[in-house]
């Protein structure tokens, strides 16, 4: 759901533009800690993956379908800073090469769909990781909850921006109810699919999941003696 040109007034667009530029600037510096000199190729491929995953349609009911936004998924898989970079590049490419989302609304789109979903998804994920038992099997669940929360929060942020610089006077309580209501539903889909996807990746290559690294590092090397040498001590 990309915001088009002329949806929000100029001061709001400029403000979100400044926020987006600052966030991308900080992420460019911080992402080097997550990926060092691999940043360009890795972030580029992950951005291509996010773009592709947004094309997978998940059937909901009676012919309708939705797709993943991927903010929380990217944060858990490659880290929040790289995640912000990837989502921002995806939105930039969609704006310039696919005419999806207005060029004057690019800052708004990056703030809502790049920054807000990644940051909220990551904070919820990290918070749950701190309070829940440190088990690898819970990582996918935490990622799913993070993804679920990130979508309605981004919708609320959109309502807040609309209250500041909307171009039509829709009663705010109606807009809030509608936006949050719809996006809680979208968030359920986002959460379940993020949970399933992270679970699938953890089963095959747990080392690739950035959010699971603190747990993997706590693992002790376990040496099991083979049964052919008889009962071990």
């Amino acid at each position: 759901m990309h915001v088009p040109d002329g949806f929000l007034d100029a001061p709001t667009s400029v403000t979100t533009g400044v926020v987006a530029v600052a966030a991308v600037g900080v992420s460019l510096v911080k992402a080097r800690n997550e990926l060092d000199d691999k940043t360009a190729p890795m972030a580029g491929l992950v951005a291509a993956f996010i773009f592709a995953v947004q094309m997978i349609n998940f059937p909901v009911a009676s012919g309708t379908s939705g797709h993943l936004m991927g903010g929380a998924l990217a944060a858990v898989l490659v880290g929040p800073w790289t995640g912000i970079l990837c989502l921002s590049v995806v939105l930039l490419v969609q704006c310039l090469l696919f005419a999806d989302g207005g060029i004057t609304a690019l800052g708004t789109n990056i703030t809502l769909m790049g920054l807000a979903t990644v940051v909220v998804g990551w904070l919820v994920f990290k918070g749950l990781q701190l309070v829940m038992p440190k088990r690898l099997s819970l990582t996918a669940l935490q990622a799913g909850i993070g993804a679920f929360v990130s979508v309605p929060v981004a919708a609320l942020l959109f309502v807040a921006l609309y209250a500041m610089g909307g171009t039509a006077d829709i009663p705010l309580d109606t807009l809030t109810t509608a936006m949050v209501g719809v996006h809680v539903l979208i968030g359920v889909g986002e959460g379940v699919i993020t949970f399933l996807a992270v679970g699938a990746i953890l089963a095959v290559r747990p080392d690739l999941v950035y959010g699971a690294r603190p747990i993997l590092e706590r693992r002790q090397l376990e040496i099991r003696t083979s049964s052919t040498t008889g009962a071990s001590a």
């Binding site: 002329g6 991308v24 491929l45 291509a48 094309m55 921002s88 590049v89 679970g199």
Partner: protein
């Protein structure tokens, strides 16, 4: 929400519009859209002038108008929103075709349609007349940070590879009789997404190693 993205929008040609350096086109698009967005919403004749201006550029680019019009489908979700606006907005009421609607909502909806359509058409014109490689060079000339241009370059380079991989996975699923109809099929699709991530990430690692073995030190060679 939003329509799925099709293949690249570029329309091959050698018109004057195709030949203009990409950074000027990006600046022109940005400038044009800022002016459009800043125009008060009831100056309808002025919007007509904008549309004529845009039509002149499209005419000069020799991109068939139908080619562009077909691709304005990305706008559909917001058309729906604009159509709903007159019914949900508050303020003085007015009557259109026997239906009572909000005057402000109607004006805002019409303005949103006009500005949004101008934006989509202008962006499509840029996308249709500019090769992705030129666009990257243009962004570099506009002083977008090197690192960001590089990430974007890798994304554009591998976009078709990754989406092609996804398409093959879809063909493989469907040739085994799978079709996604309801949420019970989500696990299969999510596992596909997971496999796609692992393949993309591992491809990224291979690309990085290949670059290192060719002397990559963190900067791209100038071409």
């Amino acid at each position: 929400m939003g329509a799925g993205h099709g293949h690249q929008l570029h329309y091959h040609g050698h018109s004057p519009v195709h030949r203009v350096p990409a950074h000027l086109k990006i600046l022109a698009l940005l400038g044009f859209m800022i002016v459009v967005v800043a125009t008060p919403r009831d100056w309808y004749p002025v919007f007509g002038v904008y549309l004529l201006l845009l039509a002149a550029v499209i005419g000069m680019s020799r991109v068939p108008p139908t080619y562009l019009l077909k691709r304005t489908v990305v706008e559909v979700p917001f058309v729906l929103f604009a159509v709903l606006l007159p019914f949900v907005a508050t303020g003085p009421r007015t009557e259109v075709l026997g239906v009572t609607v909000s005057q402000h909502g109607l004006e805002a909806g019409v303005a949103l349609l006009i500005k949004g359509t101008l934006g989509v058409l202008a962006s499509l014109t840029l996308a249709a007349t500019t090769e992705p490689q030129e666009l990257l060079l243009g962004l570099e000339r506009l002083r977008l940070p090197q690192q960001l241009v590089q990430i974007m370059a890798f994304m554009v380079r591998y976009l078709d590879v990754v989406t092609g991989e996804m398409r093959r996975m879809k063909v493989a699923r469907e040739s085994r009789g799978f079709s996604a109809r309801n949420p019970r099929h989500w696990p299969v699709l999510a596992r596909s997404a997971g496999a796609l991530f692992i393949r993309s990430y591992e491809r990224g690692e291979r690309v990085h190693l290949a670059m290192l073995s060719r002397g990559y030190t963190g900067r791209m060679p100038r071409s």
